[in-house]
C-alpha cells in the first residue's frame, strides 16, 4: 500500500464513490490513526474504541455521497464519530461501573507537574471518567462546543452540562494529582 502514489483526498473520495477498494483502504490508512485517537477519547477502552472506529468508517463509506466538500473532510469524519458516540451514549444505559483496566497506560515518570504527562496517561484518565462526564468533557474541553450546544446534542439542560463538566474536571484533577504523587 505504501507503494501507491500519493492521491489528493478528493481523488480518493471519488475513487471510494466509484467503489474502488484500494481507495477505501487508502482513506482508512490516512485517517485511521487520528480517528482512533478521537474514538479513544469517547470510549471506555480500546476494544470499544476499535468497534466505534469500524462502525464510523463503514458509515463514512456508505454516506460518502452526502459529503458536500464544504469543509475539511477530516472534520466531517470526526463529526460522524462524535455523533455516533453520542448515539451510543443514548442507546446504552451505562451505569457507573468501574472501567476495565486493559487499556490503562503504564504510569510513566513525568518531567514536570502537568506538561510532562504523556497523552496515554491523559487518555487513560479520560477513559476512567463516567460516561456522562466523559462525553461532556470531550465536547467542551477538546471539541470546543458550548454548554448550550452540548445540551442540545445530549438532550440535557445547559446547567447539567456545566455541572458535569465541573465534576469531570474535579475527578481528572484529583487523579492527576494522585498519579503524580505516586510517581514522585
Amino acid at each position: 500500500m505504501d507503494a501507491m502514489p500519493y492521491m489528493h483526498v478528493n481523488d480518493i473520495i471519488q475513487g471510494c464513490l466509484a467503489g474502488d477498494t484500494s481507495c477505501q483502504k487508502q482513506l482508512f490508512d490516512r485517517l485511521s490513526g487520528k480517528m482512533m485517537g478521537v474514538c479513544m477519547r469517547y470510549s471506555r477502552d480500546k476494544m470499544e474504541a476499535e468497534d466505534l472506529l469500524q462502525e464510523c468508517f463503514i458509515k463514512v463509506y456508505l454516506n460518502l455521497a452526502t459529503y458536500k466538500n464544504d469543509g475539511p473532510f477530516e472534520l466531517w469524519v470526526r463529526r460522524i464519530i462524535i455523533n455516533t458516540s453520542i448515539k451510543r451514549y443514548h442507546k446504552m444505559s451505562y451505569q457507573n461501573e468501574s472501567p476495565s483496566s486493559d487499556f490503562l497506560p503504564e504510569r510513566q515518570t513525568s518531567a514536570s507537574a502537568h506538561d510532562g504527562i504523556l497523552y496515554e496517561e491523559l487518555l487513560g484518565l479520560v477513559n476512567e471518567l463516567p460516561d456522562g462526564y466523559r462525553v461532556v468533557f470531550n465536547l467542551y474541553a477538546i471539541e470546543g462546543f458550548s454548554h448550550k450546544e452540548i445540551g442540545e446534542l445530549l438532550n440535557i439542560k445547559e446547567a447539567t452540562s456545566r455541572s458535569q463538566l465541573v465534576k469531570a474536571r474535579m475527578v481528572l484533577q484529583e487523579k492527576i494529582t494522585k498519579s503524580q504523587k505516586i510517581v514522585i
Binding site: V38, A141, I142, Q173
Partner: protein, 514 residues
C-alpha cells in the same frame, strides 16, 4: 466556538489529545472490508427484492388490464349479439302476431264462407242472385285477404329466415334449444304438408319448413278458399272438412308457438350462462384473512424534559413482528358500493434490549508451559433482551367501491376501526431510566389508571383489494391495507406519546353467500 477563558486542565487535555494520532489501524481494515461487502450484498438483495416486487406489481396490473380489455371486447360482442338476438326476437314476435292475425283473418273468412254455404244450401231458389252477389263479394274479400296473406307469406319468409338465424346461433350455443326445436318440427304431422301440396300451395310455403305449421295455415286457407270457390262454389262439405283440418293445424301451430316460447326462454338462460364470469353485483360476502404487517412506531416526548426518555425508549426498542387476522362481512350493492364490518385481532411484537448490569471477566494469560503469567480483569456489559407484545381487538367499519372485472374483483375501501380492547405484555424503561416497569403497571394503585391505555379509540383504515375468483362462491383475497391509530397507546400520565401505523397485506378467502 464561543470566546471563552480556557481552563488550565482543558488546555492540557486539548493540547495533548486534540490531534492525537495513534497510527494506522491496519488490523481493523479486514472487519470494515467484510462489513462493506456484506452491505453491498444485502443492498443487492434489497434491490432484487424491490425489482421483483415492482415486476410482480406490473405483472398483476398488466394482467388485470389485459383481462379488462378482453372482458370489454367480449362484453361488446356479447352485447351486439344480444342486440341482434333481441331485434330478431322482436321480428319473430311481430311475425307471430301477424301470423296470428292472419290466422284470425282466415278463420273469419272461413266462417263467413261457412255461413254462406249454409245460406246457399237453405235458400237456393229465392235468393240465388243475392247469394251469388254475396258470394262474389266474398270472393273479392277473399282475394283481398289473399293479397294480405301473400304479404304475410312474405313476412313468414322473414320469420323463417330469422328463425334460421336463431337456430344457427342456438346450434352454436344451445344444444338443448336445438333439440326442443327439432323435436317440434319432427312432431309436426307431415300430412298437413301433403294436404297443402295437393291444394297447389306455393312451394315457398313448404320450403319454410320451420314455420310450416303456422305459415301453411294462413295462405292455404286463403288459397284453398280461392281454389275451391272458383272450382265449386257450393262444395260445402268439402270446405267444412278442410276447415277442420285447418283448425287442427292451428292447434299444431299453437303447440309450435309454445315450443317457440320454450326456445326463447332457453336462449335467454343460455345468454345468462355465457356471462357466468360476471358475478351479480349485489352480494353478501364473508371474509376470513390473515395479514402479516409492518409496524411503524412513533414516540414523541410530551415535554422537553421527557426528550431523553423518548430517545432512550426509541433506541432500546425495535420492531420484531406484527400480524392480524379476522373475520369480515361485506354487503355490496348493485352499483358496487361495499359496506364492510367484522372483527380484527392485531398483534405487534417489539424487541427490547436493556442493560442488566455488568460482570467482570478474568482472563489469565499463560506461557507455553501453562504457567500463569498475567491476569486481566475485563468489565463486560450484560445486555438482556425480551419481547414486548401489544394486542388490539378492533371492529372495522368500512365503505368501499368494488369493481368486478372478469375473474378479478378490485376494491377500494376506507373507514374507521373502533378499538374494543388493548392488552400489553412486557416491560420498558421507567421515565427515570433507572429501572424497568411493567406495561400493565398502574400509575396509582388507588385509582385504576394505567401508564398504557386499555382502549385506544379510533383508527383510520384504508385498503386496496385485489381478489381472484376461484369459482362462483369462493374468492382468494390479497388486500394491501393500512391502519393508523389516531390516539396514542400511552395514557395522559405517561411522559411520552406512543403511536402506531401498520401496513400489511391481508391474505384469505372470501365466501359469497349470494
Amino acid at each position: 466556538m464561543n470566546q471563552r477563558q480556557e481552563h488550565k486542565l482543558d488546555k492540557l487535555f486539548r493540547k495533548k489529545l486534540e490531534d492525537l494520532d495513534l497510527g494506522r489501524q491496519d488490523h481493523l481494515w479486514k472487519g470494515i472490508e467484510d462489513q462493506l461487502k456484506k452491505n453491498k450484498r444485502s443492498g443487492r438483495l434489497i434491490g432484487f427484492a424491490w425489482f421483483t416486487g415492482v415486476l410482480l406489481t406490473f405483472a398483476v396490473v398488466g394482467f388485470g388490464i389485459a383481462m379488462l380489455f378482453k372482458h370489454n371486447s367480449n362484453s361488446l360482442m356479447e352485447k351486439n349479439q344480444n342486440t341482434a338476438l333481441a331485434s330478431q326476437r322482436n321480428t319473430v314476435a311481430e311475425s307471430s302476431t301477424i301470423i296470428d292475425s292472419g290466422l284470425n283473418n282466415a278463420s273469419s273468412i272461413s266462417k263467413e264462407q261457412e255461413g254462406r254455404n249454409e245460406f246457399t244450401n237453405g235458400n237456393i231458389s229465392k235468393d240465388a242472385l243475392v247469394s251469388n252477389i254475396n258470394t262474389e263479394g266474398l270472393i273479392n274479400k277473399i282475394n283481398s285477404k289473399n293479397a294480405d296473406n301473400q304479404k304475410i307469406i312474405n313476412k313468414v319468409g322473414i320469420f323463417s329466415n330469422t328463425r334460421k338465424n336463431i337456430k344457427n346461433r342456438s346450434s352454436e350455443k344451445l344444444n338443448s334449444s336445438n333439440s326442443i326445436h327439432n323435436e317440434d318440427i319432427a312432431n309436426f304431422p307431415q300430412s298437413n304438408f301433403k294436404e297443402y301440396e295437393s291444394n297447389n300451395v306455393e312451394s315457398k310455403l313448404t320450403q319454410n319448413a320451420i314455420i310450416a305449421p303456422q305459415a301453411n295455415n294462413l295462405p292455404l286457407t286463403s288459397v284453398t278458399d280461392k281454389n275451391t270457390l272458383s272450382d265449386s262454389k257450393f262444395n260445402n262439405q268439402e270446405k267444412i272438412e278442410e276447415f277442420s283440418m285447418l283448425n287442427s293445424s292451428r292447434e299444431k301451430a299453437g303447440i309450435q308457438k309454445m315450443s317457440k316460447s320454450k326456445i326463447r326462454l332457453n336462449t335467454e338462460i343460455n345468454d345468462f350462462c355465457f356471462a357466468r364470469n360476471l358475478t351479480p353485483l349485489q352480494h353478501f360476502d364473508i371474509d376470513i384473512y390473515y395479514a402479516p404487517e409492518i409496524s411503524n412506531r412513533t414516540i414523541t416526548a410530551k415535554s422537553e424534559s421527557a426528550t431523553s426518555y423518548a430517545q432512550k425508549r426509541a433506541g432500546a426498542e425495535s420492531f420484531a413482528g406484527a400480524s392480524s387476522f379476522g373475520l369480515r362481512l361485506s354487503y355490496v350493492t348493485k352499483n358496487g358500493l361495499a359496506l364492510r364490518t367484522g372483527i380484527n385481532y392485531g398483534s405487534i411484537s417489539e424487541r427490547f434490549e436493556y442493560f442488566a448490569g455488568s460482570r467482570i471477566e478474568t482472563i489469565i494469560n499463560k506461557d507455553r508451559l501453562g504457567n500463569p503469567i498475567d491476569t486481566v480483569y475485563k468489565s463486560v456489559d450484560i445486555i438482556n433482551e425480551r419481547k414486548n407484545t401489544y394486542k388490539f381487538l378492533d371492529i372495522p367499519i368500512m365503505v368501499g367501491y368494488e369493481l368486478d372485472i372478469s375473474d378479478f374483483v378490485f376494491s377500494f375501501n376506507t373507514g374507521i376501526g373502533v378499538n374494543l380492547m388493548t392488552k400489553y405484555y412486557g416491560q420498558v424503561y421507567s421515565d427515570d431510566l433507572m429501572k424497568l416497569i411493567d406495561l400493565n403497571q398502574k400509575v396509582n394503585e388507588s385509582d385504576n389508571s394505567f401508564l398504557f391505555r386499555r382502549d385506544i379509540g379510533l383508527s383510520l383504515l384504508a385498503s386496496f383489494g385485489l381478489n381472484y375468483k376461484l369459482n362462483g362462491k369462493f374468492l382468494l383475497i390479497a388486500e394491501p391495507n393500512l391502519r393508523y391509530y389516531l390516539s396514542p397507546i400511552t395514557s395522559s400520565v405517561n411522559p411520552i406519546d406512543q403511536r402506531y401505523l401498520q401496513l400489511g397485506i391481508s391474505i384469505g378467502l372470501r365466501y359469497r353467500f349470494y
